[in-house]
């Protein structure tokens, strides 16, 4: 059981851990969904990327987080400006990679927090919310 202020998501990807790590960290602009309807243009434009040398997480040129752990092919941990922590592990599972992402320290934010709305928020996810809640109710 994870901490009350954390969420965890696990997926399996049909690539090896080294490739998974590389794609995750170097091609975030290709897979990360960063369109926020109604958000300022500035938010939509800046692509998220990791600056390994500078230990920074950047949106465009703006630093929005710090890299805490960078174990190539195995593990990546970064913190955002509110000190919530995202821990991503890449583990071999047969011919696949098990990717486990845990987002911790969420108790420092709240649903009423403006930043949480922009970053992870209600607004962006409204489209997926209905389906998600229905699945939860069924299970």
């Amino acid at each position: 059981m994870s901490h009350p202020g954390s969420v965890r998501v696990t997926i399996f990807v049909d690539v090896d851990p080294a490739v998974a790590f590389e794609v995750f960290t170097e091609e975030m602009d290709a897979w990360y969904k960063d369109t926020i309807p109604g958000a300022p243009v500035r938010e939509r434009r800046g692509m998220l990327r990791f600056d390994e040398a500078g230990r920074r997480v950047l949106r465009g040129d703006e630093e929005i987080g710090r890299i805490v752990v960078w174990q190539k092919g195995q593990r990546l941990v970064f913190v955002d400006r509110r000190e919530t922590e995202v821990d991503v592990r890449f583990e071999p599972e047969g011919a696949q990679t098990r990717v486990t992402l845990e987002h911790r320290g969420l108790e420092r934010l709240s649903p009423a927090d403006g930043l949480s709305v922009v970053q992870y928020g209600w607004r962006r996810l409204a489209v997926h919310f209905e389906e998600y809640m229905m699945q939860k109710e069924e299970s």
Binding site: V13, V15, V23, F24, S110, A112, H128, F129
Partner: protein, 106 residues
């Protein structure tokens, strides 16, 4: 809590309040329903502990609605949102990684 959020209008209320507290009139406008239709939804959301209301100036028109930040149900609902957010992102990551790998090994 799930029952309270099973209704699309109520989810829209939560979404609008996620951007900050709103007076009843502004909230109805933001949600896009008449104030009269909104009041019963607000009643459900208040009784489920997701939304709080404060009355300003002793005037009913001054009622300000807000997400209940300390409410366990509100926090859980929001954690579910964060989890759904990352599920969506990792799903996108998986699709991209597998597509990329296939093209590389061809």
């Amino acid at each position: 809590m799930l029952g309270a959020l099973a209704d699309p209008t109520r989810r829209r209320v939560i979404e609008v309040l996620g951007a900050g507290p709103r007076r009843a009139g502004d909230l109805a406008h933001g949600v896009g329903v008449p104030a009269t239709a909104l009041s019963r939804h607000l009643q459900v959301l208040r009784s489920s502990g997701l939304v709080t209301v404060e009355t300003l100036d002793g005037d009913a028109r001054g009622r300000v609605y807000a997400l209940a930040p300390d409410s366990l149900v509100a926090v859980q609902a929001w954690l579910d949102q964060v989890q759904a957010f990352w599920s969506e992102q990792l799903g996108s990551f998986k699709r991209h990684a597998e597509r990329t790998r296939r093209s590389r090994t061809r």
